[in-house]
Amino acid sequence: MAYKQRIDGRGFDETRPIEAKVGVIQRADGSAMFKIGNTWAYAAVYGPRNLHPKFLQDPQRGILRCNYNMMPFSSSGERVRPGGSRRSKEISLVTEKALLPVLDLEEFPNSVVDVFIELPQTEAGSRCAGICAASMALADAGLNMKDLVCAVSLGRVDDKLLIDLDYSEESYKDGPVADIPIAMMPNSSKVTLLQMDGEISKEELMELLEKSRKVLMDIYEVQKRALKEKYHEVEV
């Protein structure tokens, strides 16, 4: 049986509802919240600040450190043990690589920019939500950036190509599935994160990548709007 209609009634090219806000963590130098469906991410940026221990410092450029963490109650199944896993370490790494190209770290030799991503609630697409929140938080921190970073998961469920898989689609059993998180710098259309689990033909993948541009531009608009909203109140 083919996958005819998405379980939550969305169109195949449609994301779950998105909410975004910046400046949500007052103690941080920059912060943001990004919610897509039931997946909810916070990001806080601290820095550029002194880096200890000293041997980690790079006199040529600052370094970026990202940490992705799921809160213990953020999974709909059993409690997630705190302290990180191999999965969360890998996601921290690819998140760092996804954000690095938009920053100019040569401005801050010997310093570090710390990005902490926390997820109170997850239901698929958490690394993408984390990246969206993190790039907004970096902008909120006032760092010089070449672009924002927008991320979403692309996918294939049975014979259909779709955008922003939810949990039921990721775990679809009656046909082949592919889950492809992607992050892009919207202004140059360059890809900064690309991963895939599952099976898909090259043609289908290229078609999905083509489709992803529009939805990533929509996410970019949401991010920009949230960044501008923070300063809205001051105008009056």
């Binding site: 963590i25 809160m71 999974s75 705190p82 926390e118 109170p120 609630q121």
Partner: protein, 258 residues
């Protein structure tokens, strides 16, 4: 450590009964907000804001074996992580002594007040019990995590519903309408001594200037159920007398937000 000048400034103000941000000595920051059910993946959750301090507490339920000495009682487990997202001074890594103290103070307030009837958490004596796992996650630490986390933990327990359990496996997706149910409402109030003055709800700067603190947990009728003294300086019996009065009085005020 903080600058001596700032500490002297805080004490100077307190001697005129004023605080850095203009509050009265025993006044909590405003607004105080309690939001229930913020995390759908948890069996119960709450978010508490006291001024800019912002804490999320989530409750997960699991089935385990009882301790041999209490075969007909379930149990609670409280964890706190001082997330580096919430405060520039917090670092990644396993919970340090600060996080452990926070978790244990919250744990004792709930446990010793008998807010939860552990016997009701028993499924099959000597075999299966409910474990109530309470995790504290600060989003923004602008001071007084003790009181905010205690309030959020109690609110999250109030919000908690059992997941479906068929005797073998838990179906977390199928939530029941059966609430955990609270027998008591223990509220923690941390009273701070700076110089010769007592204050509640310290902000970040005041927290660094404290001589001593006493977290006082009390239930509806004013009965004390847990205490924790902290800070480097000792307290006199008279100090403790005054701090308990403040703690019990302020608990009544905080309880109204639940």
């Amino acid at each position: 450590m903080m600058h001596r000048e700032l500490r002297n400034h805080i004490i100077g103000l307190l001697n005129a009964d004023i605080r850095l941000d203009g509050r009265k000595l025993t006044e909590y920051r405003k607004p105080i907000e309690v939001e229930y059910g913020v995390v759908k993946t948890a069996e119960g959750s709450a978010r508490v804001k006291i001024g800019e301090t912002d804490v999320i507490v989530g409750v997960k339920l699991d089935v385990g074996e009882p301790y041999p000495d209490t075969p007909d009682e379930g149990t609670i487990i409280v964890g706190a992580e001082l997330l580096p997202l919430s405060n520039p001074e917090f670092e990644l890594g396993p919970p340090g002594i600060q996080a452990i103290e926070l978790a244990r103070v919250v744990d004792r307030g709930i446990r010793e007040s008998k807010a939860l009837d552990f016997k009701k958490l028993c499924i099959t004596p000597s075999e299966k019990i409910w474990m109530v796992i309470i995790d504290i996650c600060p989003i923004n630490d602008a001071g007084n995590l003790f009181d905010a986390a205690s309030l959020a933990a109690l609110a999250a327990l109030k919000d908690t519903k059992y997941p479906a359990f068929d005797g073998e496996k838990i179906d977390y997706k199928a939530k029941t309408d059966k609430k955990l149910g609270l027998e008591k409402m223990p509220i923690a109030v941390t009273v701070i001594k700076i110089g010769s003055k007592f204050i509640v709800d310290p902000d970040i700067e005041e927290e660094k200037a404290i001589d001593a603190r006493l977290t006082v947990s009390s239930i509806e009728d004013g009965t004390l159920c847990a205490m924790q003294k902290g800070g480097d300086f000792p307290l006199s019996i008279e100090d403790i007398d005054k701090m308990l009065d403040i703690g019990i009085e302020k608990a009544k005020e905080l309880r109204k937000y639940l």
